[in-house]
């Protein structure tokens, strides 16, 4: 028994991720946590999207299941699980069956390397960002398979559109990512992330290494080589919306043209897998954007506003956020109609508020807030992207397919290429100056 406990406790003081440290117990725990957190995030996102979109569109959104529709996603999930699972008679059985799993697998696997904090990741891979791009590019396979296996026109066109779209935008996305990776390589700075000691010349692909580089260089890459970092960030921000098939690039599932695109023939549980995959892919690409350009887990202004006072102030943020949410809950509870019919709902809302307040209070415990600090900032940044996704959906009409391709190939790709060259030139400018001086 003792060796097992030792094995478990031995990791606690480690400065590495469980994967890199080779601690399988903690790696397993992290996987579970990430999976659970992701599921909760998708459920919350579902509710938030409907509510925020509804309020943008002068309506209320879900109001019936639970107070302010808080239980709606759960009701939906139960409905989807209980629904009949229909497979078209002419469908290719095996491919039809496996396609949603591939999409979900690809969408979830990328979270293996997402760094929620310096040690809060399942593992730190030396090719982290490459791994993320590679695995997320596999999800297009699932979509193509789903569209083809349905043996129906609309899904087929949806699949063709989405594969063309995702392959095209991966190029622009990749170029933007490369320019961020170039920024990690700066002369005279060693130690970029775990295991990359002494390789400062070559930069790093490791997700943790990239954030560490931003910390070392005292700048988020979005502001580095201004405005180059900003442009790269914008290219990525556009490409990632296209990559996840969301409005205004939601052509593969443009309901006015192709009913539901590649998943037209899917229903029930299998459809919910596509839904799950879509939202976790959104979170995944947002995580990449946050890691590469917005400093990952770093809190705002760590260099400007440092010292113990500021540290304490920023450390209190997570607790304050939860208390604020709890306050909203209590305010809504007070505003609930005073009618016996709403008694349970009012109690439920109050209970939910109390739960949030409790979490908030727990977050004021120093031992806790030091540990969740990184995760909090990371989550807040990702949440901002999630809000943007909803906002886009409420505002923009849909692009036409040729226009979408035009944006991808004729605007984003040349911009990305030029940006890459400029970033390289900026990174090498002292060498170039020497070189020019030696010639003159």
């Amino acid at each position: 028994m003792q060796p097992i406990i030792d094995y478990i406790t031995s990791y606690l003081n480690s400065t590495q991720t469980p994967g890199a440290a080779g601690n399988f117990f903690w790696a397993f725990v992290y996987i579970l946590l990430v999976f659970l957190g992701l599921s909760v995030a998708v459920i919350a996102m579902n509710w938030l999207e409907r509510k925020i979109l509804a309020h943008m569109q002068v309506r209320l959104g879900p109001m019936r299941v639970g107070p302010h529709g808080l239980l709606q996603p759960i009701a939906d999930a139960i409905k989807l699980l209980l629904k009949e699972d229909i497979m078209p008679a002419e469908a290719d059985g095996f491919v039809f069956w496996i396609a949603p799993f591939i999409v979900v697998l690809a969408a979830f696997t990328v979270f293996v390397v997402v760094p929620f904090g310096p040690t809060h990741a399942i593992t730190d891979m030396n090719i982290g960002i490459l791994f993320m791009l590679g695995v997320s590019s596999l999800s297009v396979l699932g979509i193509v398979m789903a569209g083809w296996a349905s043996n129906s026109h609309y899904p087929l066109i949806g699949a063709l559109r989405s594969s063309a779209q995702m392959v095209s935008y991966e190029v622009a996305m990749g170029l933007a990512v490369v320019s961020a990776i170039l920024m990690t390589s700066l002369h005279g700075l060693g130690l970029y992330g775990a295991g990359s000691a002494g390789t400062g010349d070559t930069g790093t692909l490791s997700m943790i290494g990239i954030v560490a580089a931003q910390q070392e260089q005292h700048v988020w890459f979005v502001f580095k080589f201004f405005p180059l970092g900003l442009i790269a960030f914008f290219i990525f921000a556009i490409a990632m919306v296209a990559e996840t098939n969301r409005a205004p690039f939601d052509l593969p599932e443009a309901e006015s043209e192709l009913t539901a695109g590649f998943h037209t023939e899917y229903s029930g549980f299998r459809w919910s897998l596509f839904f799950l995959a879509e939202y976790s892919a959104m979170i995944a690409v947002s995580s990449i954007a946050v890691t590469l350009w917005l400093g990952g887990w770093l809190r705002p202004f760590p260099n400007l506003l440092h010292g113990s006072t500021w540290d304490l102030v920023f450390n209190l943020f997570p607790g304050i956020t939860f208390l604020f949410l709890a306050a909203i809950c209590f305010y809504s509870t007070a505003r609930m109609p005073k009618h016996p019919y709403f008694k349970i709902q009012t109690m439920g809302l109050a209970g939910f508020g109390a739960l949030l307040a409790l979490i908030g209070l727990v977050l004021f415990v120093p031992a806790v807030f030091v540990r969740v600090q990184d995760i909090y900032w990371f989550a807040i940044k990702v949440a901002a992207f999630m809000y943007l996704y909803i906002w886009y959906r409420g505002t923009f009409p849909r692009y036409r397919f040729d226009q979408l391709m035009k944006v991808g190939w004729k605007i984003l790709l040349p911009m990305g290429l030029g940006l890459l060259i400029l970033t390289a030139v900026m990174g090498m400018r002292s060498e170039l100056q020497h070189w020019v001086a030696s010639i003159l």
Binding site: S256, R398, Y399, Q403
Partner: protein
């Protein structure tokens, strides 16, 4: 913008049968499709995403309105016309009542005329609002739909207060109106005008300068003025092609000649111009409503009409500018209490004919945009 090419009438009428290779995909869109605005079925022949030709299959909502008319008295048939273009029921009723009045030789009293104009223009706005919401939804912008429905609700409330019905209003009677306007009608209409004017700016804010909206609609579904006339297209679709023609001005009916308003036109005949024309029509309708409600005269609302209507033998064609275009009624009377023949000239049917020409060489997504911009109501197409 180059001048769109014009085809000969026969070319316009026959589908383009030329296509690149045998790898074309035939897609059946509808009759149950979210973007065909009802039960329109379109058979698309695609080369990739490009439309090589299309054929409309209609008639799924055919109820034989014209046959029903032959078995009803003039008064009994009046509510049926509401069911044709059910989003502009008031306009349908206006056209029918005026045609029968012409046949009978009676004229509605001035107050009735004014109230008719107010209601018809309100209905035009309601119809355009429905069009805008669904059109934007087809192109992928979901938010305008809710904005327009919020404001359309105010119009429907006025209808409901006036005659008890919201959609199929049966607001007019042959010879005038059955009811005097309710107390506070004028105030409601005035409030509505003040309420909705800034809302129209709100719609425009969301769409008019939205890059994606402009890209999706500019140069899409172009129809030249010449083709539009050859195809008999009317209403905003014709005006967007640059033909300044509106029956309210060209052959004024009701008392439109008393009102000061303009006919908005476009130049390019594309989807964007049609959008702009209809947005401008919102404002013109508001102008008319404002003038009508300000100058609303007192007096009776019903002319002297015989209890049993037996119009003298003869035939008459009368048309009005419905929200969708020229809505005409051709009624033949044989001197009995029932019309011998009622023919409805539905603007939606004739406008829909232009779909093929407007979509040739376009993308699938453009077909959706063009169906939306034609603003068809299948109840009227099929009757």
């Amino acid at each position: 913008m180059t001048e769109p090419h014009s085809l000969s009438p026969l070319d316009l009428a026959t589908p383009d049968k030329t296509f690149l290779d045998a790898n074309e995909l035939v897609i059946n869109m509808g009759p149950q499709h979210p973007a065909t605005h009802g039960v329109l079925r379109v058979i698309l022949r695609l080369d990739g995403e490009k439309v090589m030709g299309l054929e409309c299959v209609i008639g799924y909502l055919h109820r034989g309105v014209e046959k029903i008319a032959e078995n009803r008295t003039y008064t009994m048939f009046n509510p049926y016309v509401d069911r044709m273009d059910y989003v502009a029921a008031v306009s349908n009723g206006l056209g029918y009542c005026e045609t029968v009045e012409k046949l009978l030789g009676v004229e509605a009293p001035p107050r009735a005329q004014y109230i008719r104009v107010i209601l018809a223009e309100l209905n035009r706005m309601a119809s355009h609002q429905l069009w805008l919401g669904t059109h934007a939804l087809d192109i992928g912008a979901i938010t305008p739909l809710f904005y327009t429905f919020r404001d359309r609700e105010e119009i429907l409330k006025i209808f409901e207060k006036y005659c008890g019905a919201r959609l199929t209003t049966h607001a007019f009677r042959i010879g005038g109106l059955q009811y005097e306007a309710y107390d506070g009608f004028e105030k409601d209409v005035k409030n509505f005008v003040a309420f909705v004017a800034p809302k129209i700016d709100e719609y425009e804010e969301l769409l008019t300068t939205n890059r994606i909206w402009v890209e999706r609609t500019k140069g899409v579904g172009v129809i030249s003025a010449k083709d539009a006339i050859a195809l008999g297209v009317t209403g905003p679709v014709l005006r967007a092609s640059g033909v300044k023609w509106d029956l309210r001005k060209a052959q004024p009916y009701a008392n439109y000649k008393n009102f000061d308003f303009e006919i908005p036109t476009g130049q390019n005949g594309d989807t964007y111009d049609r959008y702009l024309v209809r947005m401008a029509e919102f404002r013109q309708s508001l102008r008319i409503i404002q003038q009508a409600v300000d100058g609303l005269p007192e007096g009776p609302v019903m002319a002297k009409v015989p209890k049993v209507m037996k119009p003298p033998v003869g035939e008459v064609y009368h048309s009005i500018e419905a929200p969708k275009g020229e809505l005409g009624y051709f009624i033949v009377s044989d001197g009995s209490t029932q019309p011998y023949r009622v023919r409805v000239r539905p603007p939606s049917l004739v406008n829909l004919q232009a779909l093929d020409v407007m979509c040739r060489g376009a993308m699938v997504a453009d077909v959706i945009a063009v169906i939306g911009t034609l603003d068809i109501v299948l109840g009227e197409v099929d009757r």
